[in-house]
């Protein structure tokens, strides 16, 4: 039996502690970001010529990162919204850290598109001269909507926690007081907040699905071989949720270690998410198989050129590494209950993240290497600038997350408290409503039942 805990202090205490490791880690991140910034100045000065891009491989790492990061963003809002709507009680300690991933990673995804532009100084042209027939503009519309909705969805459940912080941390009062919007925790405030959260949870799901569908349409709407595919929308969304859950599990494991949240993030949370991840791994294999088999069976020369480049050609090592990382390893680690431990799910998630990045890369580059007309096919070796900026993108995300966890409670204090105070009873009550009403009088003897049945 665990001792009763003061949840608020458990979660607020690490926020105001600044261990040395934190400083060192943030320093390392800043160093990587500074190097990436230097690489970007080189790119701004000399043009995209400093990348490894060529004709016909006009898109490379930046677009791969864009698709990957936008995919990761599905970790948060979508999963949190689905779990909330399903009233999965185990969601309580993980929704906040998931929603934070969404909001922060969207900036990184969008930033990678800016990196990819030949003329980033003209990026605002997409607002000044928008062409709504372009899937890129659908992307911009969809992603900005998603960002707005996700921020709102992150902020709403934060309000009661901000009020707790306002009352607990007098030195940061100036910051939390306006953000808490005068929350005092009256029943009326609670009713309104829960209603707003419920509405947002319903609203963000279609928006989240639209986001990665539209990202896939950037490729699928062209007539390029192995991009022009009708299943790209759902294929990308499934992949996005897949990589999103993996990112969430990794984040949970790290936070559990550094913030000592063992009492909150228990093996059961990893187990449940691990099962979800296993389902997504199977779905991913299904989509991948359907996509490649259709291409292979149709046997169109242009598509087959791309197909063989991936299966046996220069990209084969990446392709098979992807298959192992996204399916073979996760299914072994997550499918066998004995291996579905915390370290098992985290290892599977790590491999999935690598595999899904490779998948995005394999969608972007091999199609471009094999143009329809038999021009000498391109080769693509990313330059140090692209690698530095990619590293910078990952470092910036980690930095944002590191700052976020020091400013906002990474576990929703009031929701966990609510779970302790009301959740158990509510769940019991709910479970009772699923079952036939218990009969108050004692059951009749078996013989009499047979008699009625056969008489």
């Amino acid at each position: 039996m665990e001792q009763p805990r003061d949840i608020a202090s458990d979660i607020v205490t690490p926020m105001i502690r600044w261990p040395r490791g934190y400083g060192v880690f943030v320093g390392c991140l800043l160093a990587v970001i500074a190097f990436a910034a230097y690489a970007w100045t080189q790119q701004l000065r000399f043009g995209l010529g400093v990348t490894g891009l060529t004709r016909p491989v006009f898109w490379g790492l930046y677009i791969t990162n864009f698709v990957f990061f936008i995919g990761i963003s599905h970790a948060g809002t979508l999963i949190s919204a689905i779990l909330r709507l399903c009233r999965a009680e185990w969601r309580r300690p993980i929704t906040r850290m998931a929603e934070a991933i969404t909001v922060l990673v969207l900036f990184i995804g969008a930033g990678n598109v800016i990196m990819d532009l030949g003329r980033p100084d003209r990026a605002l042209n997409v607002i000044l001269h928008p062409n709504f027939r372009s899937p890129l503009l659908w992307d911009i519309t969809s992603i900005t909507t998603y960002l707005t909705a996700s921020m709102l969805y992150l902020y709403l459940p934060l309000i009661p926690d901000l009020a707790i912080l306002r009352d607990r941390l007098p030195r940061r009062r100036w910051f939390y007081r306006p953000l808490a919007l005068g929350w005092t925790g009256t029943p009326q405030q609670h009713r309104r907040l829960e209603r707003a959260i419920a509405i947002m949870a319903v609203v963000v799901i279609p928006i989240a699905i639209s986001v990665h569908t539209v990202v896939s349409w950037v490729f699928a709407m062209t007539i390029q071989p192995m991009w022009h595919s009708t299943i790209f929308g759902p294929y990308f969304v499934a992949g996005a949720i897949f990589s999103g859950i993996a990112a969430l599990i990794v984040a949970m494991a790290i936070l559990r270690k550094v913030y000592h949240l063992e009492a909150y993030l228990k093996p059961i949370h990893f187990n449940n998410l691990g099962i979800l991840l296993l389902v997504m791994a199977c779905l991913w294999l299904y989509f991948t198989f359907a996509e490649y088999l259709t291409t292979f069976y149709g046997h169109q020369p242009e598509e087959m050129a791309v197909f063989w480049t991936k299966i046996t050609g220069p990209f084969a090592p990446y392709f098979w590494a992807m298959a192992v990382c996204c399916f073979v390893i996760p299914v072994i680690l997550l499918g066998i209950p004995r291996l579905r431990t915390i370290s098992g799910t985290v290892a599977a998630s790590g491999f999935i993240l690598i595999g899904m990045w490779l998948e995005r890369f394999l969608i972007v580059v091999p199609s471009l290497i094999n143009p329809r007309l038999p021009f000498p096919g391109g080769v693509y070796h990313p330059s140090w600038v692209e690698l530095a900026i990619t590293a910078g993108a990952f470092a910036t995300f980690l930095l944002f997350y590191c700052l976020f966890i020091k400013v906002f409670p990474i576990i929703s204090i009031w929701e966990v408290q609510e779970g302790q105070e009301r959740g158990v009873d509510e769940t019991v009550e709910r479970l009772k409503t699923y079952l036939p009403t218990a009969v108050s009088q004692p059951p009749q003897p078996a013989t009499s039942r047979f008699q009625t049945k056969w008489s």
Binding site: R55, F58, R119, N125, R133, P135, R372
Partner: protein
């Protein structure tokens, strides 16, 4: 205090006025400009026929295009990196296998599609099909996302990976009619659109309509074998319409439905 309804009404009126005011002067300017020149009888649709039977693969068209359109001088480095910009280029197609192998060389300019896959995907209208059927590129608006480049099934659009450079001795040799593209934007064959502008101005100054032969692109002018025919596809009597009417005709990747306005005549 203004009610919400009144505020909305005012906003709508203001927006309407703004749209009207912005449109009115441009409409006047356009009508004033066109009043002097005699109007052509129909809108032309510029197209090209390349006769592969006459083509000797001498690449005069490639060089002429390069010089005419201020394309940067590709050094060995650009070649190695695969970053050569050549609006007109030769595509080598191998047929058969050893010992009966045969190589064909096709000159490929922008196919100037009637259903261009590149224009719809541009997020900022930097590339579009103009009323005379030319697929144009607005360099000062292009944001360099390279979506159009990737959407083109003919790989006929080019990106300025770095600042265009010429040796100092060539500084005076650039064509003043063609803008030098900055780094970071996409560019493409325009069927020497600047020559059309010139020809139109010339015709207007002489008080006549544009005639066949007033406007020819540099590649056609340079072709020693006269393998390239150019003109108005909407005029059934034009050379290009007649040249097109040939059983040897084919268009590249016609099955994609892009409706290219460049037609090839296969080798007999």
């Amino acid at each position: 205090m203004v009610s919400r309804r009144a505020l909305l009404q005012r906003a709508v009126v203001a927006a309407g006025a703004l749209v009207f005011l912005r449109r009115a002067p441009t409409a006047q300017a356009a009508s004033g400009q066109e009043a002097d020149a005699p109007r052509p009888t129909h809108t032309p649709r510029w197209g090209m026929v390349i006769d592969l039977d006459k083509c000797t693969s001498c690449q005069a068209c490639v060089v002429a295009c390069w010089a005419e359109n201020n394309q940067p001088l590709p050094g060995p480095e650009a070649h190695r990196a695969g970053r050569v910009i050549e609006w007109m280029k030769l595509l080598s197609v191998h047929e058969g296998s050893y010992p009966r192998v045969r190589q064909r060389l096709l000159p490929i300019p922008c196919q100037q599609c009637d259903q261009p896959p590149c224009t719809t995907v541009c997020p900022v209208f930097a590339t579009y099909k103009n009323p005379e059927g030319l697929v144009a590129q607005i360099y000062p608006r292009c944001i360099g996302c390279r979506y159009c480049v990737n959407a083109c099934p003919y790989t006929c659009k080019f990106f300025n990976w770095s600042e265009a450079r010429w040796p100092a001795s060539m500084a005076q040799e650039l064509n003043p009619d063609v803008s030098v593209r900055p780094k970071g934007v996409t560019e493409k064959c325009t069927f020497c659109h600047h020559r059309l502008q010139r020809a139109k101005e010339q015709a207007a100054s002489e008080g006549r309509v544009l005639q066949a032969g007033d406007y020819v692109p540099a590649c056609m002018q340079a072709c020693p074998a006269q393998a390239i025919v150019f003109g108005d596809l909407n005029d059934p009597a034009s050379d290009v319409s007649k040249a097109q009417d040939n059983p040897r005709r084919f268009r590249l990747q016609e099955e994609l439905g892009t409706e290219p306005k460049v037609t090839y005549l296969s080798e007999a």
